[in-house]
């Protein structure tokens, strides 16, 4: 029996650890107690190009409207692979648990992770669990690494970006950040806000199916939409002109930002694809994104420009320079 809360003993490598792994982690994957516990997963990788990524997840609170730290870890890993053009295949996870963590919470997170992985076609092939003393961690942290296969002909890199190209985003921005802030602060909302946490891989596949000239892809996480475009423009040595009125933001998110003094353009997303395609492919790209359930709110939000400034044309006709995120308004967001 695992007990109601995590004890330091769960990290001792002995019976406690085995019971934890069997009772929660293996069970979530539908594997029996007898499943072989190996030190590494043997993989047979064939030909082609592979993308490999790793990410840590520390979001607080671990359960939030629209997801948990478990599904977030899977989505985050898949998205990092997908924006490189890769199809997510394998992943490993490492859990750091704090002594005293409720096991039902852990179970929920692990179940959520397993479900998300199955949906994404991602095989969780390796895992590890450690326990730290009470006060030395905040509930639980997850580190996840992922491996994905890149089909031939896909190479979305900042270097491809050229003047005149179109910038697109796959839906309203800032949902994840706003949901976390609202959950953390217990703010009163005019309408509920849920995280947009999602696996973007199917959306990327839909895009590549119809647009072979995708220049660049990124999922807007910390720093939000603005940070992605500022960074990519910087890497490409170019600028951009974005239209504030074209950037989708939910009214409830806008309202919360107004209260707190945040800028939704810098607020984290966990399921929004930012894409750059040649201008003449923009409507084809928009159609293909909107045709997928994850991209119904997609919009063309601006164009790549010469110079090195990322300019936001505001609703009232002014111009604002977007710059790198200075001070994170919401730490521990993913």
């Amino acid at each position: 029996m695992t007990g109601a809360t995590i004890r330091l003993d769960h990290g001792n490598g002995g019976r406690w650890t085995r019971e934890l792994v069997e009772g929660i982690f293996l069970r979530a994957q539908g594997k029996g107690a007898g499943a072989a516990l190996l030190d590494a997963a043997p993989l047979r990788l064939e030909g082609g190009r592979w993308a490999f990524t790793t990410d840590g997840f520390v979001v607080s609170p671990p359960v939030f409207p629209g997801g948990t730290i478990g599904s977030l870890a899977v989505h985050g890993t898949c998205n990092d692979l997908a924006v490189m053009g890769a199809r997510p295949r394998f992943a490993s996870s490492s859990f750091i648990l704090e002594e005293g963590l409720r096991t039902d919470l852990l179970e929920r997170v692990v179940q959520d992770m397993a479900r998300a992985a199955v949906e994404a076609g991602l095989a969780l092939v390796a895992g590890d669990t450690k326990v730290v003393e009470k006060g030395r961690g905040d509930g639980l942290y997850i580190a996840m690494s992922g491996l994905g296969e890149v089909p031939a002909g896909r190479d979305p890199m900042p270097g491809n970006i050229g003047p005149g190209d179109a910038w697109l985003v796959s839906g309203p921005v800032g949902d994840h950040g706003a949901a976390i802030v609202a959950a953390r602060g217990d703010y009163a909302l005019d309408a509920p806000i849920a995280s947009d946490s999602a696996n973007l891989s199917p959306l990327v596949e839909a895009l590549f199916e119809r647009v072979s000239t995708v220049q660049f892809l990124r999922d807007a996480t910390r720093g939000g939409l603005a940070q992605v475009i500022v960074e990519a423009s910087g890497a490409a040595g170019l600028g951009a002109v974005l239209e504030e009125a074209a950037i989708p933001v939910r009214p409830a998110v806008e309202g919360l930002c107004d209260i707190l003094g945040f800028d939704p353009l810098y607020l984290a997303c966990e399921g929004r694809l930012v894409a750059c395609v040649p201008w003449d492919a923009a409507s084809e790209a928009l159609d293909s994104l909107r045709g997928h359930p994850l991209g119904v709110g997609s919009a063309v939000i601006g164009r790549v420009a010469g110079g090195r400034e990322v300019v936001l044309r505001t609703r009232v006709g002014g111009e604002r320079l977007l710059e790198e995120l200075e001070e994170d308004p919401v730490p521990r967001i993913c």
Binding site: I259, G318, E319
Partner: protein, 789 residues
């Protein structure tokens, strides 16, 4: 000023007994003010020979002749310089006589290191105006006439020394008549570099309904447009102005709507009849202590004056504030237009709100096409935009609120030798400052670095300003706030960079203007809207002991939560909520402020307080909060609206507030003050007395309470700061009521003089502090160039 050594030249055999030759080296505002012609005239009058020429550093001059007249020349040169000339350095030496005949103005010397006396643009002078009005004069009604004493300078300058060929006037070759005047020693346009006439000078034209016309018809059509209630864009001295009839509420509303300037008061330009230039202005406004000359001199700033009630200015101009920013036409062009309109006009810089002033016909057509119904344009290229300057008077002395046309980039004295450091200012009201040895050239107001275009303008100015002054930048000085656009720009320059604490820079600027020596210290109030403290927290209501190179925070207003960060500065109701909650309880907050928020907003405000958002000690925000509690101002539609309304509301019968409590800061963190000034008793007092009498009595009482608190805090500070002189800097001292109250109690209080007390003065302070820090680093003592004061 250096004393001339007075030595006379040696007498050369054969050159005549008593014949001497003197060489002068002069620095200061000696170019572009008619200095060389006046030297030539004086020499000719006294029968002396010699020459004069502009150098990159000033003026070089030699005269030769009989000893008596030569001495007379030297005396009169010092005592009777042209009106705008100001000597910074006056060196005179005797040299060998050479037997020269006649006096000449020699070609300017170029190439050597310039020492940066760039003149501001100067309003049309009285001599030119009388020609302008004289039907017999060949410049009758010519809008671009100028002379050695007036006309554009800074806005058309390509480089020093100041000669027509290094200004944008070089594209207008002089006609025979103008050329004759330019070369005639006896003419007042002798060597007038910007001179022009209808035959050879810039032209004016009108574009608008009915097509394009020029000359007198252009002015007629422009004036008609204004009289019809439409909006006119006028390309003036330093850029576009948007103009409409100030007595026509509909026109002013339309201007506000199109310019997206909701509520910020607009300046008004008044016609200036030759018979009495101020006669019309005085019908609408009360000049009071402001000398009449201030309205007609070369600066001609916008002066904030009490508006006479019920005189016919549309209420949309001042938006309920009891003041009007009043001025007279700045150039002959404006004078001509106003003559024809015959009524006061709203005059606001031609740009979208928050963007830099536009300067070319092309830009104007593109960016103002949806704002203006017609354009009055000219073809004299403006190389850099300059806004109108704004001043106000407090207790009999002038305070500069915005330093631009007519004032910048004139230098301000440095209290000790400063290296070539470029001060960049902060985020709002940015002006550049360039260290030039014994003085600091302070550039014109560049505005707030919020929009993309103002940032571009900032980069351009920061790049060219030192070069224009002939200086080579050795280091940069910026604010300690890393997020300010100017700080970010500095970061990317790859030069030595000094980050100067915001409130220290404010006080250093006051010290420098007062001429306090390098090792001086003051006990200062640094009161403003916001600034980053040395402890990473937000300051703005500080009692400090500081010198140029050191600064200690002694006291501050009790910190309070800044709900929503920068959003709190836009919504005084948020500050009011934080103050009331701190002084009472949730129940009272709800009772007092509940109706000023929606239910959810209100809940969320309280949640933010519980979530321990950032705090600040800003007096600017305290003003916001008290303005909300006393007057009900819930939102700032423009920067400083709520505080301005609170100042405006002050009655003559203040109610006495309870004193602020001084609390010892028992556990000061690094950078934390020794004491807190607790305003909570004031909050409770206001809540108890609201609605009982005139809100103006409470408004005045609040101002008095601040004065008392300032003094209480200073008295307590004396424990650590002894008998140091008292100083006050920061944007809160734009409040004349507050400043007057303090000066009454502290007649020796040092305050800003030539520079604005607000962030417009930061860059000068930054230069001084970084200079002191650099000296400290090098271990060299700070020298006072003119001996210790």
């Amino acid at each position: 000023m250096r004393r001339p050594d007075g030595a006379l030249g040696t007498v050369r055999a054969g050159a005549g007994v008593g014949r001497v030759r003197l060489r002068f080296h002069l620095e200061g505002t000696v170019q572009g003010v008619g200095f060389r012609p006046s030297c030539a005239r004086l020499a000719s009058e006294l029968g002396l020979s010699g020459w004069v020429r502009n150098t990159p550093g000033g003026v070089a001059l030699e005269i030769e002749g009989a000893e008596g007249p030569a001495r007379e020349f030297s005396r009169r040169l010092r005592e009777e310089a042209p009106p705008l000339a100001k000597y910074h350095r006056f060196l005179e030496t005797g040299i060998e006589v050479v037997g020269e005949e006649g006096f000449s103005i020699r070609p300017s010397e170029t190439g050597a290191q310039s020492t940066g006396w760039v003149l501001p643009d100067l309003g049309t002078c009285e001599f030119c105006l009388s020609e302008f009005r004289d039907p017999a004069d060949r410049r009758h009604l010519y809008p671009f006439l100028s002379c050695t004493g007036c006309g554009p300078r800074y806005s058309i300058l390509e480089g020093l020394p100041y000669d027509r060929e290094r200004t944008s006037m070089r594209r207008f070759p002089l006609c025979a008549e103008c050329g004759g005047e330019y070369a005639d020693l006896a003419d007042r346009r002798f060597h007038a570099e910007t001179t022009a006439c209808p035959a050879c000078g810039p032209k004016v034209w009108f574009e608008g309904p009915g097509g394009t016309v020029d000359g007198e018809e252009a002015l007629e059509r422009a004036a008609r447009l204004v009289k019809e209630g439409s909006i006119l864009a006028v390309l003036g001295l330093g850029g576009f102005l948007l103009v409409c009839d100030a007595t026509d509420g509909g026109a002013v509303r339309e201007l506000r709507k199109r310019k997206r300037r909701e509520a910020r008061p607009l300046a008004v330009m008044f016609p200036a009849p030759a018979s009495g230039p101020l006669s019309i202005l005085q019908r609408y406004a009360e000049p009071g202590a402001v000398p009449e000359a201030r309205f007609t001199d070369a600066v001609r700033p916008i002066v904030i004056l009490p508006e006479k009630p019920g005189t016919g200015l549309a209420p949309e101009v001042g938006m309920g504030l009891p003041w009007v920013g009043a001025y007279l036409p700045t150039t002959a062009l404006h004078l001509r237009l106003l003559d024809r309109v015959g009524a006061p006009v709203v005059s606001t810089s031609g740009n979208a709100s928050g963007e830099p002033i536009l300067t070319s016909p092309e830009e104007g057509r593109e960016r103002l096409g949806t704002v203006a119904d017609g354009f009055l344009l000219h073809d004299r290229p403006i190389l850099r935009g300059v806004d109108d300057s704004v001043v106000r008077w407090s207790g009999g002395s002038e305070m500069v609120l915005r330093r631009a046309r007519g004032l910048a980039p004139l230098p301000v004295g440095a209290p000790f030798e400063v290296p070539p450091v470029l001060g960049l200012g902060g985020q709002m009201k940015v002006a550049l400052a360039m260290g030039l040895g014994d003085r600091v050239a302070v550039g014109p107001h560049l505005g707030d670095l919020e929009s993309a275009s103002s940032l571009r303008a900032f980069r351009l100015h920061a790049g060219e300003f030192p070069a224009l002054l002939g200086a080579k930048v050795a280091a940069l000085a910026c604010d300690n706030h890393p997020g300010y656009a100017s700080s970010k720009w500095a970061q990317g320059c790859g030069m030595p960079l000094y980050r100067i604490q915001h409130h220290h820079a404010h006080l250093a600027a006051v010290m420098g203007e007062a001429g306090l020596g390098p090792s001086s210290e003051v006990l200062g109030l640094s009161w403003d809207g916001t600034g980053l403290g040395s402890d990473g927290r937000i300051w703005g209501g500080e009692w400090m002991r500081c010198g140029y190179g050191n600064c200690e925070r002694l006291g501050a207003f009790l910190p309070f939560p800044l709900l929503g960060g920068d959003r709190a500065a836009e919504e005084p109701r948020r500050v009011a909520l934080a103050l009331v909650l701190a002084a009472t309880n949730e129940e009272t907050v709800h009772e007092v402020l509940g109706e000023k928020f929606t239910n959810n907003e209100f809940k969320n405000m309280l949640i933010m307080v519980r979530n321990q958002v950032r705090e600040c000690t800003s007096l600017g925000r305290l003003f916001d909060g008290f303005s909300c509690l006393i007057l009900g101002c819930t939102h700032n539609r423009f920067e400083g609206e709520a505080p301005m309304r609170l100042e405006a509301a002050c009655s003559r019968s203040p109610v006495a507030f309870p004193p602020a409590t001084l609390l010892e800061n028992g556990d000061p963190h690094p950078g934390g003050p020794r004491f807190w000034v607790d305003w909570r008793p004031w909050v409770r007092f206001v809540l108890e007395n609201r609605g009982k009498g005139d809100a103006g009595d409470l408004a005045a009482g609040f101002h008095d309470a601040l004065t008392d608190a300032a003094l209480d805090g200073m008295n307590l500070s004396r424990e650590w700061a002894g008998g140091l002189p008292a100083a006050a800097g920061g944007g809160c001292f734009q409040n004349a009521r507050l400043l007057e109250g303090l000066r009454e109690r502290m007649p020796d209080l040092l305050v800003a003089r030539e520079l604005p007390p607000n962030d417009g003065g930061l860059s000068y302070g930054q230069v001084l502090v970084s200079a002191a820090v650099m000296r400290g680093e090098s271990g060299a003592p700070m020298a006072h160039p003119r001996g210790d004061p």
